[in-house]
Subunit: 408 residues, 2 copies
């Protein structure tokens, strides 16, 4: 696998565009992805029982093949009743008409403020404009990735190249958006994430299950207990234009897909609303994988842990208290807690006793470790052989600011 | 039931004291409650698997009768290993010796910073000092309630008087501490709550189950999913000094107990770290009580709802999105959402459609309703006959500030 500096149009046959149509005041707000030929697809939807109109529309279509996807930002078209569903279907039809393809080959997604009707006049001029702007290369990648952003502060894209068993070289690329206090305070990924990945590999079978497996080791590691927004969707399109034999069961191919998905997921965490630090929790020595994950998630979801990380405060008691509220079984006397960052590490708790005393050298070291941009909380339960991880960010003043003032 | 302006020494035979022994720099940090005769007791403990030393000690004793309780603040004696258990037992012995009673009649609790050893030299001079200071009346109530505070900004006490069936007048009083972002972001009551309630009523049977029922309609309504700190404890002492027949099954008595407990629980919410508003969620028309509670708790636990409340932002889509992540079954087309405050009310969603449009009169009204100190989120699912409620507070800048800087 070769990591490349690319985006959504890197694989053969994919074009894209990001334009401004007026939903937002100035920034890009309408994105389109287009494949020269119909592409096989796998889609994962939000499990929230309150579903946005575009999600309703897509779940009803439940397509196996798509050729284009239109995404608007700035307005989620969620909790908009019958009118919202009508508008989402209109977005499909307008896109199909402007591209000269069938309605069945078009997907739609929306993200932004909830419960306001879509400004369809603006979207109806934006869609033909996006079609005219479709292109390949760095600029197309950039504008498209920026057109799906809401509170994101940076665009998020990743790409790689993989050589399959038969020698075919395929490209896998993706973009995502989302920044809403991920794996947060509320144990949920609350801001909408939209993820689009594309490849020119050939697929001969349904790959929904494979796509779900990829989600489970990427976006579902940051979405702490599976709660999701009304608009979440993740789409994987494969148009086969690289030729060669099908990639369905090629391990290298799925390694590449996993790599791109994990890169995108981590980019969401690091852009968490107000985040100043990436926190990775690694739980080892758990009785089974469920307990390992439960422990990792309880820690990453604790507001007290997250605020302590923001303050570079080695209040490791909060980490152990969060562990105590998880489903993991352990004997505190055997638990070992180490903080790592930037090659440095410091042991804070071992053999049932804190190794850090106020004012000690260990405390000074802990402060130093916590001052870095990426901190690993490494917890060994010494109670089995399973590991689990979760990724999150710290909780800062800015998180409150961003969310208190979102619509007003 | 008559509400009275009293505190922990209001019932007959109870004395108390709050002193400064030096765990905190200046504020009161050691409290003692004493009954002239041994009192029957019921105790509920934290369910966190990481238990503080005093909790370990009390669970091992599991007393039915106590005469005194010593509580320190400023240091939780949690995650302090074998030394911590030794220190907690020392607190018991020192109290028993200073009062001239048996060790078995003494309870202990601690709250404050985690994983630092108790300064036993300070506690050993503080305990005899507290015994000497034991008294009755307003000043004793006040200093005792303040001596158990940590990040609390106000002391929390409540009391009432009840006439039993046989004409006996009994007094019920209590104090509590806790302010840690209750029913918060993290769906948990994360800061320690310590609750002490006392009565001079006569009890002839074990009342642990009754005490648990009282917790379930008071403190467990603010502790969103049962997660608790390492130090939580709630104690109810009954010394029988009012005389008369036993109050065990007297409905008026338990009504009084419930009243005092609910008052104390609400005082915790309103003193939530950085809180500016009390939020009560009332879910009606649910299929069953479990679903009603799940919905109420999902809403009160949502950081996005809580930050919107802080910003007086009628972003009601966040309330419905939180509902969608709960276990409640509903048809969005039948859901009705009303905000109430101070006699005012505004309907934001009905018949599957938002009734609030940006810039409308309804939006102006919603802002007005949200500007008050107490807001009721009234959600009718129209899907059954069960109700459920949850109490919480908003999420402000100050919450982050308090928690980022707690130990440093």
């Amino acid at each position: 696998m070769e990591v490349i500096d690319g985006g959504i149009t890197s694989p053969k046959g994919f074009k894209a565009a990001g334009v401004h149509c007026g939903i937002k005041k100035e920034r890009l707000d309408l994105a389109m992805i287009y494949s020269e030929v119909p592409a096989k697809c796998a889609i994962a939807y939000t499990q929230n029982k309150v579903r946005a109109a575009p999600i309703e529309v897509m779940m009803k279509k439940d397509p196996n093949t798509l050729q284009a996807f239109t995404i608007n930002s700035g307005n989620a078209n969620a909790i908009t009743g019958v009118q919202g569903v009508y508008d989402a279907n209109q977005m499909v039809s307008m896109t199909a008409q402007a591209l000269g393809i069938k309605d069945t080959l078009v997907g739609v997604a929306s993200t932004g403020v909830i419960s306001r009707f879509l400004p369809m006049d603006k979207i109806s001029t934006g869609i033909p404009n996006a079609v005219r702007s479709l292109g390949k290369g760095e600029e197309a990648d950039d504008t498209t990735a920026r057109a799906i952003m809401t509170t994101d502060t940076v665009k998020k894209q990743a790409a790689c190249r993989v050589t399959l068993k038969d020698g075919t070289v395929v490209t896998i690329a993706g973009m995502t958006k989302g920044s809403g206090m991920i794996s947060p305070a509320m144990k949920v990924l609350h801001a909408t994430t939209l993820t689009f990945m594309v490849t020119d590999a050939q697929m001969s079978k349904n790959f929904n299950r494979r796509w779900q497996d990829v989600m489970d080791v990427s976006f579902n590691v940051i979405s702490v207990d599976g709660d999701q927004s009304t608009n979440d969707i993740s789409v994987f399109l494969a148009n086969g234009m690289a030729g060669g034999r099908p990639a369905d069961d090629d391990p290298s191919f799925w390694e590449g897909v996993r790599y791109v998905a994990q890169q995108l997921a981590k980019k969401i965490v690091i852009d968490g609303e107000g985040a100043t630090k990436l926190i990775e929790v690694m739980v080892r020595g758990a009785k089974n994988p469920v307990q390992a994950r439960s422990a990792a998630r309880a820690i990453i979801a604790s507001s007290l842990v997250k605020t302590a990380m923001f303050g570079a405060d080695p209040n490791f008691g909060r980490i152990l208290a969060a562990l105590g509220n998880s489903e993991a079984e352990f004997n505190l006397g055997k638990v070992k807690l180490v903080l790592r960052s930037n090659g440095d590490s410091v042991t804070l708790f071992e053999d049932g006793t804190p190794t850090m005393v106020a004012g000690s050298e260990v405390e000074a070291k802990a402060h130093q470790v916590l001052s870095h941009k990426k901190v690993i909380i490494d917890l060994d339960l010494n109670n089995g052989y399973s590991t689990g991880e979760a990724w999150g960010c710290d909780l800062s003043y800015d998180y409150v600011k961003i969310n208190a003032m979102y619509t007003t």
